[in-house]
């Protein structure tokens, strides 16, 4: 139960953030009324933007200064098309920034895994251990792995060991996936 609650926690935080974004008071810069007026007689076409509320979104309020004299205004305005639009620039900004930060983190992690970690490992643990950890753990004895599973709950008291162990397991998994997809071409043409 507690574990389930802990798993739900970041999810709820994310949901709250999203809801907050959606319900945020609209930036006054983010609404506009866009009027497109085609060429009329000898006036060229023009596009007018102005931030007015939705009830004021029509030709008379938005088109300033009016290019045509008084009696022609109605004919000119009949051809103009006015649309009310709104957007949320905050959402766009936040989404892009979150995306770029996740991308940056992933790239850094990739650089670390490919370049930095082997150097660190080689320096700390010595050459032989490096070879052993890279070995393919493809144990084909059916009973040996069951033994592993049943024995796993006892060890790993140390947190750092746990992280290391989880990372090793993840790397093994990615390696297996890479073999299936890229080398043997068994899954995913």
């Amino acid at each position: 139960m507690a574990a389930r609650g802990a798993r739900l926690c970041p999810l709820l935080l994310l949901l709250a953030a999203l809801a907050g974004l959606g319900a945020e008071a609209k930036n006054s810069e983010d609404v506009r009324c866009k009027c497109i007026c085609p060429p009329y007689k000898d006036h060229s076409g023009h596009i007018y933007n102005k931030n007015v509320s939705q009830k004021d979104c029509d030709c008379l309020h938005v088109v300033e200064p009016m290019p045509v004299p008084g009696p022609d205004v109605e004919a000119y305005c009949l051809r103009c098309e006015c649309k009310y639009e709104e957007r949320s620039s905050v959402t766009i900004k936040v989404t892009i920034i979150i995306y770029l930060s996740i991308l940056g983190l992933l790239l850094l992690y990739m650089v670390y895994l490919t370049l930095v970690e082997p150097i660190l490992k080689r320096r700390l643990l010595g050459h032989s251990q490096l070879i052993q950890s890279d070995e393919d753990i493809g144990d084909h004895q059916p009973f040996a792995n069951a033994h592993d599973v049943l024995a796993r709950s006892r060890s790993r008291a140390n947190v750092l060991n746990k992280v290391e162990y989880a990372q090793q397991r993840w790397k093994l998994q990615v390696q297996e996936q890479r073999k299936s997809v890229f080398d043997r071409h068994v899954v995913l043409s």
Binding site: L18, E29, I36, R79, L106, V149, W170
Partner: protein
């Protein structure tokens, strides 16, 4: 007996945390990666009367409460990677669990709440899946930068400026690269600089994408829909719907689309939604433990994915029903509906398209169409069918070459080369330079008085304008330029998509095929429009299209063309039409869309039987039993069962006379995945290991007993190992004279993994799903050895 039960319970508590995630299953399974030899043929010889229940499945009423509640050992009842699940077992487990919770709910309020929450967990899960949907518009860095904020794309950058009518695309805040670097945007040097920056950015994005995919989550490449179809039919691919795949697929999808490649994002979004669904399943016990229930959730998640991708909730539900799901009971239909609803609601509140509209390609015209226009629509349907069949053939040939030759050894290089070719060919033509979604929007759009694009440069007669309802006019020079540019774009897109789909970056198929169809449709529409204008006195036109009226809408032809091409490739019918009219909002145009979709499906089916996703499933050899095809050969069960005449006799496990050592020898020396008295290999391994550790007195010569009451042994012999709990009570049997049509139907409808064959009550052999698939392949004159998995 008591000691055994308590031991097992204590065991369960200790290792539950570890045995629940997908990653752990990899280790339990052991030698699961060597599937080339994993033949699924357990042989049988003698009559085996005794059948028993699978773990904890309590078939007989005499089992005690403790037996019933007892969760099996970790790992028992799970599946190895790349194996098929046993639907019957999963369904019966779920029914037992439900019955168990209901009977306990009468005991206390806590138990009652538990049962209520269990029932609602399905709906809650749908809610959460829907809420996790979302999408944004990335900035288009290939062409320039927005000075007001780099996160804006071109359209949003020029949000506030007042511009002239003809120059509406230029505004002071948006600077193209040549303007930034050189200070001006004109001239040959500026053009070359823009070209170079375009290609460099495209290459950089795609390089990042493929490196991320290769480095972190190799399962994130491709479309994902063929694999999801197979997973939903009962196959297990561990890690395919995991956390890393989710993150990497989302990130690299945006990169791949930004790099200008000819791909879409709808297929990958379905994969992403299913990943979300799978990850959320781990929060609820009901779905975490049971593979069959989990697939119901995944069907609903696929519907939510399409709903988010297109803004088409009903189309999403129908897509999940028609294309993706295998078993789709009514309960899943309601739940998918709910999930799609929540997803659409979330999408609307986030408002990615910036105009509080859900639809991707909103069309604003509502002109009527005339019955005679059905002729060009059917022509478009035929074109769509032909293109679909051509695309499937060539794409499968190219993918097969990638799988078998040296081309497949250089995935990163392949992606870079294809991106370079795409970028170099795309820049000169303005219709390929813009993103494919924008192209489709422009093609669907009808030309009104306010449009200034090249496609709308007709010869206008300003004196006779009646508001926005423009009559058919002669084409101006702009239209002719646009026509041949579009024709070139069509040829380029037709060929480059063949090489793009299936590369090692996330790639979807919907948008490119819609683009091909939209271009073809618009070309035909403008041609018909000009024909009607110049020859309005011909008998076919004079009846309904008088001069000065607006009869032909080229935008409608583009819509119909897009639907035809998409239908020709994927062979969707109902879901396609619903998605199309949800995408465009054009409810008047259902009949032309249906006509084009049906025609393209008939034409494409006449050339090749399978849609693109089924063709990829067959290419990869997944064990997918096609639910839409009829099996029409006159073979019988005994022609397909194993062992055949010349095979060695079957390996068998007797119900109460084999010792632990014998069983271990059998398990190590064979690779069959099940043995009669039908017990699964993994269960057997784990149970014996556990018994050796936990129970006293189990040695290699102990007898294993599978029945309820073991025969009494002399007191000097070691104690007996009872393994009744891991047996299967009710394997299905057919007689040897049963026609294979019925056997195939049984496998399909019940989701069996194996089926025993008897003769006069005596057990003769076994048929597994792999045998059935091989047999079907043989009957269709395809290579039966292409079925790799079981």
């Amino acid at each position: 007996m008591e000691a055994l039960a308590m031991d097992q319970k204590g065991y369960r508590r200790g290792s539950f945390q570890s045995a629940t995630s997908d990653e752990d299953m990899l280790e339990i399974a052991g030698a699961s990666m060597d599937f080339s030899m994993a033949d699924d043929d357990p042989p049988l010889d003698r009559e085996m009367g005794g059948f028993s229940s699978y773990n904890g499945g309590g078939m007989n009423g005499t089992s005690t409460m403790m037996d019933f509640l007892e969760e099996p050992l970790p790992g028992v009842g799970t599946y190895e990677d790349f194996n098929t699940i046993d639907w019957v077992r999963e369904k019966s487990r779920d029914r037992d669990r439900h019955r168990e919770i209901t009977s306990r709910s009468k005991e206390s309020t806590w138990a009652l709440l538990h049962s209520v929450s269990d029932a609602f967990s399905g709906w809650l899960l749908m809610l959460l899946i829907g809420l996790l949907a979302g999408e944004g518009k990335p900035p288009d860095l290939k062409e320039g930068v927005c000075l007001a904020g780099f996160w804006f794309n071109h359209e949003h950058c020029c949000w506030k400026s007042n511009t002239t009518f003809t120059d509406r695309d230029k505004c002071p805040e948006w600077k193209s690269w040549s303007q930034l670097i050189l200070g001006h945007g004109e001239g040959a040097f500026a053009y070359i600089l823009n070209y170079l920056m375009y290609v460099i950015w495209a290459l950089m994005f795609s390089l990042l994408a493929v490196l991320l995919v290769k480095g972190f989550a190799p399962y994130a490449c491709g479309s994902g829909i063929p694999e999801i179809k197979t997973i939903l039919s009962g196959f297990i691919i561990r890690g395919y719907l995991g956390k890393w795949t989710l993150v990497i697929k989302t990130i690299t999808l945006v990169l791949a689309v930004s790099s200008g490649l000819s791909l879409g994002k709808e297929g990958p979004l379905v994969h992403v939604a299913c990943c979300c669904g799978n990850i959320l399943c781990h929060l609820f016990t009901k779905y975490r433990k049971n593979e069959a229930k989990r697939r119901e959730v995944l069907s609903a998640a696929a519907a939510a994915g399409v709903s988010v991708a297109f803004g088409a909730p009903i189309g999403g539900v129908l897509f999940s029903l028609e294309e993706v799901s295998y078993y789709f009971p009514l309960k899943t239909l309601w739940r998918s509906f709910f999930a799609a609803l929540v997803a659409a609601f979330t999408l609307r509140s986030i408002n990615p398209f910036g105009n509080s509209r859900l639809v991707l390609f909103y069309v604003e015209f509502h002109m009527p169409w005339h019955l005679l226009e059905l002729v060009p629509f059917i022509l478009l349907g035929i074109f769509g069918g032909l293109w679909g069949a051509f695309f499937i053939r060539s794409n499968i040939a190219w993918c097969r070459r990638r799988k078998t030759t040296r081309l497949g050894k250089y995935p990163v290089l392949e992606v870079l080369v294809v991106t370079a070719i795409t970028a170099i060919l795309a820049f000169p033509n303005e219709y390929t330079r813009m993103s494919t979604s924008e192209l489709i929007s422009e093609l669907f759009n009808d030309c009104g008085i306010l449009d200034s694009s090249k496609l709308c440069e007709y010869v206008n007669d300003f004196n006779s304008t009646k508001g926005d309802d423009l009559p058919d006019r002669a084409a101006g020079p702009g239209v002719y330029t646009a026509m041949w540019q579009l024709a070139l774009a069509l040829i380029m897109k037709v060929f480059i998509t063949i090489f793009t789909f299936g590369m090692k970056v996330p790639s979807g198929l919907f948008i490119p095929s819609m683009a091909v169809g939209a271009i073809a449709g618009r070309l035909l529409g403008v041609a018909v429009e000009q024909l009607a204008f110049y020859h309005h006195d011909w008998p076919i036109f004079s009846g309904w299209c008088s001069q000065g009226a607006d009869c032909i809408t080229p935008g409608l032809y583009a819509m119909v063309g897009a639907a035809a091409c998409l239908g020709g490739v994927t062979r969707m019918t109902v879901s396609l039409v619903v998605i199309m009219f949800e995408l465009t909002g054009g409810l008047e145009y259902i009949v032309p869309l249906m006509a084009a979709a049906m025609t393209s499906k008939w034409v494409a089916d006449a050339i090749g039987r399978e849609g693109i996703y089924d063709a990829h499933i067959r290419l990869n050899g997944y064990p997918f039993l096609e639910a839409k095809e009829e099996f029409s050969h006159k073979t019988r069960a005994m022609d397909v069962m194993r062992p055949r005449k010349n095979d060695p006799p079957l390996t068998v496990i007797t119900q109460d006379s084999m010792s632990v050592e014998d069983v271990e020898t059998i398990v190590s020396s064979t690779t069959y995945s099940g043995y009669p008295v039908v017990v699964s290999r993994t269960d057997l391994i784990i149970s014996i290991e556990n018994a050796r550790k936990k129970q006293d007195g189990i040695v290699s010569t102990s007898v294993i007993c599978f029945t309820d009451y073991c025969p009494p042994l002399p007191p000097s012999s070691p104690s007996v190992l009872k393994l009744r709990s891991i047996l299967d009570l009710s394997p299905f049997t057919v007689t040897d004279e049963t026609p294979m049509e019925i056997v195939v139907d049984i496998f399909r409808k019940l989701g069996l993994r194996q089926c025993l064959v008897t003769h006069n009550g005596k057990l003769l052999g076994i048929i597994t799903k792999k045998d059935v698939l091989k047999h079907i392949a043989q009957m269709a004159n395809q290579d039966p050895d292409s079925i790799l998995f079981n």
